[in-house]
């Protein structure tokens, strides 16, 4: 794998390998083994043009646990504020010989713009509304760990689908792994052509409860809700589309719940959901770290070494 820009690039075989290795990594982490020499001498740059705590710290930890040198650059401290273009920033950065650039950017396709100008491998850590492939990997890995397979599973993503890179990445990878993907939310937040994403739109929360083996709740971007005129109020969203105690009861017994975080309690989910035994939300975080360790190793051609060390 040269870069990881989109879930489209992840074949079931590649996913299988990442998953298996991530499981070994998790086992090692749980045993308290947190330092490996896999990426010694390698340099990982986290280049974040958008605020992020979770994803950035997850990549940072992943790099550090593998002994890579990790540099964090965010917009507030970079020369982007001085007017430098993305391409120039990347070209300059590349001259410092990083091995991997983890790129988060508010514009769809930014890593594709950057790709021709760098020698380093690029991991797309979120480009606008487009893709966030490591999120898809960790969501799929979390579900595989729970169910054993995604084959034949019915997974529903709930929230602002049209504007969500998580929905786009998840839908593509889940489908590749044999799942059937549905979406649900306010009609103003549905894509105009859901079939292009490979998903079907459900009509009610009751349908979500009936259909789903797993429900992925998306974060509602409170700050954007009114500005984008897609929904009247947070109160109304919570009432009509949030997962609450009552709806939790309607879910089938085996149904599980995911959320990419950070979540808004009382909006897309209530406390009942957070504490429910159905939730895999916190497991996602751990799996995310393991998956990112695997991805960084893979992009540095050190996957075998990682497998060896975590044994």
């Amino acid at each position: 794998m040269e870069h990881l820009l989109s879930a489209e690039e992840i074949t079931p075989e590649v996913f299988g390998e990442i998953y298996q290795t991530a499981q070994s990594v998790k086992k090692a982490l749980r045993e308290g083994r947190k330092k490996f020499s896999v990426l010694r001498g390698k340099c990982v740059v986290n280049l974040f043009f958008e605020p992020s705590t979770r994803t950035r710290s997850s990549f940072e930890k992943a790099g550090k646990f593998l002994s890579a040198d990790v540099i964090n650059i965010s917009t507030s401290t970079s020369s982007v504020k001085k007017g430098e273009s993305l391409v120039d920033t990347l070209k300059n950065l590349d001259m410092m010989h990083p091995d991997v650039i983890v790129l988060r950017h508010p514009c769809e396709g930014a890593p594709y713009t950057a790709k021709p100008f760098v020698r380093a491998a690029i991991v797309n850590a979120g480009d606008g509304r487009h893709q966030h492939p490591t999120q898809a990997l960790l969501d799929a890995a979390t579900l595989k760990e729970h169910f054993g397979t995604l084959e034949g599973k019915r997974i529903t993503i709930v929230g602002d689908i049209a504007n969500s890179r998580v929905a786009r990445s998840d839908a593509i990878l889940f489908k590749k792994l044999g799942a059937e993907v549905f979406v649900y939310g306010p009609s103003t937040m549905m894509p105009r052509y859901p079939e292009a994403m490979g998903v079907k739109v459900l009509k009610s929360f009751d349908d979500v409860c009936d259909v789903s083996d797993a429900v992925v709740l998306l974060r509602i971007q409170l700050e954007r809700l009114n500005a984008k005129k897609t929904f009247p109020s947070i109160r109304e969203y919570a009432e009509l589309f949030g997962l609450n105690r009552e709806r939790l009861k309607k879910l089938r017994p085996e149904t599980v719940i995911l959320h990419p975080g950070p979540f808004n309690r009382g909006v897309e989910l209530t406390n009942d959901v957070v504490v429910s035994d159905k939730t895999l939300i916190f497991r996602q975080v751990e799996t995310g770290l393991a998956v990112r360790m695997v991805v960084l190793s893979l992009l540095c051609n050190r996957l075998e070494r990682l497998k060896e060390e975590v044994k």
């Binding site: 769809e108 396709g109 713009t113 606008g128 509304r129 049209a162 894509p191 052509y193 859901p194």
Partner: protein, 427 residues
């Protein structure tokens, strides 16, 4: 007086219903005769153009020359050179220069500079409103005296319908058309590509075809109200073409143009975030492209116009959502239009109608767009079969922003004559 005789070309002139092998004689800046077997003794110089097609010079109703104010993208010299390399002998440049062409001083500057360069006619389009702000009418009458052929606020057609009504009323009395970029921008706000299956997949905010349909409907209704001649620019949607067709049937004075890129490419061209395929209106889906081609065939669409919009490599080498809209088009228009002939949508004569005869009529010029004796000797000679690769070196424009870069194209301009002078040749 110098005279040139072109011998043996397939002469295509829809204004006279001519499409056959003939000779054409020019003297000075005028066409003298188009006949069979004109003797070489009648001319000082004779050029054998057998096997080539000879037509009235192409007229582009819609381009951006960026001069004055944005000369790093293009200027009148490079722009007109690119134009004649594409077979255009007259081009109409949009008012969105800096300063805006909203007063006779700028109009005269453009015309005088173009005359000094001397490659082709440049007919400025004046602004509708001062500064393209959509508020106060620009000095339209004074600009008409200075030489504008139409008015337009380019991409900023006044949102205020009363302002547009006044402009149309006024334009009617002055005998010039109003060129509109018809779009309900409140519906397409924030969009960077067509709202279609691909935008759903890529997550890029879309510009729905319906935004164009709504804009077209409003603008045409105001034209109907005022009796003005409206020319709808770069139509790209099925709905807009249906609206235009219905309006024409009703007798509204409406004409429209379609760009080569809109009848050639689909939204697929932006799949890899190619900013050189980003323009407004955006590339749409196959069904819209098909309707565009048919509109040219049936005559619902009157003209092919380039919307030549230069932007430098630096400006385009940015994130897709931060890249400016627009691509260059002078040197690709002929080969892409010839594709419509090859695919059977147009006869060669219809193609010339769209590139020359009709545009001349739309801007009310009777001495161009025709090979009638007495007309100005603005002539294009091309080889419809010659293939070439559109390399950067070949592009005469200062900017190279085209999705056709390094693509193989078929149909090469061999001679371009402006006022009887060979201003471009590739032989």
């Amino acid at each position: 007086m110098t005279s040139i005789l072109f011998k043996g070309a397939r002469v295509v002139d829809p204004s006279q219903g001519i499409d056959r092998v003939l000779d054409l004689l020019i003297e000075g800046n005028r066409i003298v005769k188009v006949e069979e077997n004109i003797s070489t003794s009648e001319a000082g110089r004779s050029i054998d153009v057998s096997g080539l097609v000879l037509t009235p010079g192409f007229i582009d109703l819609h381009c951006h020359l960026r001069d004055p104010g944005q000369e790093w993208k293009e200027d009148i010299e490079t722009g007109t050179l690119a134009a004649v390399a594409g077979g255009f002998t007259s081009i109409c440049c949009m008012a969105n220069t800096d300063p805006v062409n909203d007063n006779p001083t700028i109009t005269r500057y453009i015309i005088e500079k173009a005359e000094k360069v001397g490659l082709c006619d440049v007919f400025p389009i004046g602004a509708i409103t001062k500064g393209l702000k959509g508020e106060e009418l620009a000095e339209i009458g004074l600009m008409v005296k200075a030489g504008i052929v139409a008015i337009s606020d380019d991409g900023e057609t006044p949102k205020d319908s009363k302002v547009l009504r006044n402009a149309m009323d006024y334009a009617r009395s002055l005998g010039i058309p109003v060129f509109t970029h018809s779009e309900d921008k409140s519906l397409s706000a924030g969009g960077h590509m067509n709202e279609g299956p691909l935008s759903s997949l890529l997550g890029i905010p879309g510009m729905p075809p319906e935004a164009e349909d709504i804009g077209t409907m409003r603008d045409i209704l105001i034209a109907k109200l005022t009796g003005a001649h409206i020319h709808v620019c770069h139509v790209s949607s099925k709905g807009a073409l249906q609206i235009i067709e219905a309006a024409k049937r009703e007798g509204v004075k409406v004409t429209c143009e379609i760009t080569p890129h809109h009848f050639t490419l689909t939204e697929e061209a932006v799949r890899e975030f190619n900013t050189n395929a980003k323009m407004c209106p955006p590339l749409r889906t196959e069904d819209h492209v098909e309707v565009c081609k048919n509109a040219l065939k049936t005559g619902v669409a009157d003209a092919i116009a380039t919307d030549h919009a230069p932007h430098t490599e630096d400006e385009k080498m940015v994130e897709f959502c931060r890249a400016p809209f627009g691509i260059i088009g002078f040197q690709t228009a002929l080969s892409l239009s010839l594709n419509l002939v090859r695919e059977g949508y147009l006869t060669l004569s219809q193609m010339v109608e769209k590139l020359s005869t009709n545009p001349a009529r739309i801007i009310r010029k009777s001495d161009i767009g025709t090979l009638k004796p007495g007309a100005r000797a603005n002539i294009t000679v091309f080889d419809p079969e010659e293939e070439f690769t559109l390399t950067e070196d070949l592009i005469k424009s200062k900017s190279k922003n085209t999705p056709f870069l390094n693509r193989k194209l078929k149909g090469m301009v061999k001679f371009t004559l402006h006022n009887g002078r060979i201003v471009y040749k590739t032989v």
